[in-house]
Structures are given as C-alpha cells and as structure tokens.
Amino acid sequence: MPNYNKMAMRAAMRIHRRLAHAEPPSASVGVLHATWTLVADNARKLRKAEARGWCAASRRVRADLTATLDQLRDAALDVQRSLRSPDPGFVMSPQQIYHDLVALYDEFEEVEIVAKSRIISVKTEAIQLQDLYLGPFKIVLHWDQFDERMPYEVVALDPQPASRVGDDVVHPHVQGEDLCEGEAKALLRSALRQGRLFDFFVIVRQTLQTYNPSSAYVAIDEWDGRRCADCDTHVGDEGDYSCEQCRCLVCDDCEITCEGCGGCFCGECMNRCEKCNQASCDQCLKTCGRCSASCCRECHENEVCKSCEETDSTATEAQLGDDAEAEVHPHVVGEAGVPA
C-alpha cells in the first residue's frame, strides 16, 4: 500500500464533492411528481386515441405510457430508498473516502484509479462457485454516474460463459457486464450514496462469490449445457423434451412417446403394456379386472384385457355348447321310442 496516493486523494475529494451536493430526498420527490404528470398526460392521450379509433396513435401512446410507467416505478423506488435511509444526508468525509480507496490495495489483487475518466476498478481473485471456475472479474465503478441505476460494470477477465446461452452469461448472476444484485441492491445503493467505496467493492465481490440456485440466469449444473436424465448426454435447446410426468429433461433419442395419448415421457416414467409390449404412460394403462395385468387401451376392453376377454368368450361358447347338449338329451331321451 503506498504511503500517500495522490490519485486516490484527488478522487476522494471529487467523489466527496459530488456526494455532498447530491440531491436530497425532497428533490427525488420532485422527479417522481414530474414523472407522474407525464404518466397522466399519456393516459389522457391514450383515452382520446382509443375513443376516436386512432389505431396507430393508440399503439404509439400505449408504448409511451408503458415507458413512462417504468420511469415512474424507478422514481418511486428512488424516493422510497432515500426516505428509508437512516440518515440520507450522511456522507463520508474526504479523508474517510481516501482511506477507503487506499484500503482497496490491500483487499484486491489489482486496483486502478483514473481520475481523468472518473473510474475506480478492482480485480477480484478467481471466482469459483462449487466446482465451477468462472475466473477473476474486474469491477469498474464510474464515480460520475452515481445517480445512474447501474454506475458500475462487472467484467469477466477470463470468461467462462454458459454454453447454452451464447457468450452473454459469464456468472450465474451476471449477464453481459451487469450484475443482477438481488440482496445486494439496497446495500450497494446505500454504500454509494454515503461514499463507502470500500464496502461497495466488497459487497460486489461477496455477491460474485455467492451462488443463489433459486434465481440464476443459468444454473451451475446446466453451465456446460443441459444433460439428458436418461443417457446423461448434452442436450441443446432444440431437440429436447420434458417428461410430462416427472418434468426431467430427455434427449431426442431417449424420449418415448406414449402410443395411447401421444405424450412425451422419460424411460423412468414410461411403462409398457403387459400384453402387446406397446409403450404406454401410467394414465393410459388399465388394469384387467380378471388377471390384473396392466394393458394399453388397445388391449383392454370391457374392463378386462383381450386375452381374458377371449378366454371368457371361449368359455362362454363352450358353456353354451354344453348347455345346448344338456337341453337336447332329455328332450331326445324324452322322445326316445318307448316300446309299447
């Protein structure tokens, strides 16, 4: 760590000046009010366009209204954040900001402060989530953009993109150069608003070092492509099937179509008719009321399987034959000539 870092001091002075003159919460309420006026104006235009049947104008104003509603939401969130802050006016002194910047040299492998382009960047150590190597990242903060929604970028220095979505996702929570902040969002805004730059970089790093499987652009176990649940081969976005019973992913070769309903199933969930061996899902299989065999629709009639049906028919015919003979004999016997 250098004893005196002229660049860090210059940056600290400028950052403090910028933050100390940042807009108070009352100013962001003014922005919210102005945005609401735009929304109301667009809503009025839309009503007018719809009432007069101006389709093209309607479409245009609808798009404008959607955009201004987005702006309104952001403005409302900004006001909410500034009001929730324990002390909105609390800003670190230039000395504290300087100490933050100088401490970065001990915390990170590489630190760069460029006063001219108003950039502070640090390089993290290589990020590894579970067994997935993602390489080091560069966190680049633009201190002249503190008012922006994303005044920083996260750049993969040895990108290991997820294979199924092109080169865009370089971390489960980074798309392009944008970190999806999740839990870190409020912390980062608060740190930047108060000039706690050391905290800012540490929070971004800790977020990069954390995997949230419930909300990832691409899950770690699908990083190298998704795998077929049956044969474990890679499955692309095309030619994949989701089993209709267990929802697992199966490849084109392993997918089995039920002959009864046409649904797609994995090998684990697919059954076969015990009579004709035809592929059939659980829903399409019926149990024979006589022999309890599981049969497909083709092999199942009148609550019994075809074999049992045939056996029944044969037995019935035989029975009928026997009955017929039994009826004839007495008759014949009865009609037998009796000697006088």
């Binding site: 929730r84 929570h173 999740g182 905290d199 929070i203 977020t207 949230n212 909300s215």
Partner: protein, 75 residues
C-alpha cells in the same frame, strides 16, 4: 466513545454510535447481530480483519458484511 458502525446485512445501516470504553469487536457484534454466527460475516475494524477480542477505540470504523450475498436473475 463514538464509533462508526456499518452493518451491511439486510437493508444496511451506517451511523455513529456510542459504545462504552473497553467494548470488544465480538461484544458489539453479539449486541447488534443477536444470534448471528460471526463466521458468516466479514468483521472489519478500520477496514482490516480483527481478532474477536480486539478492543474498539474512539473513532474506529467497524463494518459487518455477510460473506454470502445472494444475487438474482433479473435487475
């Protein structure tokens, strides 16, 4: 004495607070974080890792940052 306490857990908190002389880093952590496990946090005094029994000094800056902060998949 006054110290600057920064709690980067939950919604975040940063302010100057009064603490009694002789307060240690782990004592203040326990007071502020209740039953939280200190192993799940980066606890720094003046931006440097500290021993749990380090006695805080007037004007110190103590920060508590979770080691795990969950990102998401949309901004």
């Amino acid at each position: 004495m006054k110290i600057l306490l920064i709690n980067n857990d939950g919604g975040g908190f940063a302010d100057y607070i009064d603490v009694p002389e002789g307060t240690t880093a782990n004592k203040l952590f326990a007071q502020r974080m209740k039953s939280a496990n200190p192993h799940h946090y980066l606890i720094r005094v003046n931006r440097l890792p500290v021993a749990a029994d380090q006695v805080l000094q007037d004007g110190d800056r103590m920060s508590i940052t979770p080691t795990k902060i969950e990102g998401a998949d949309r901004r």
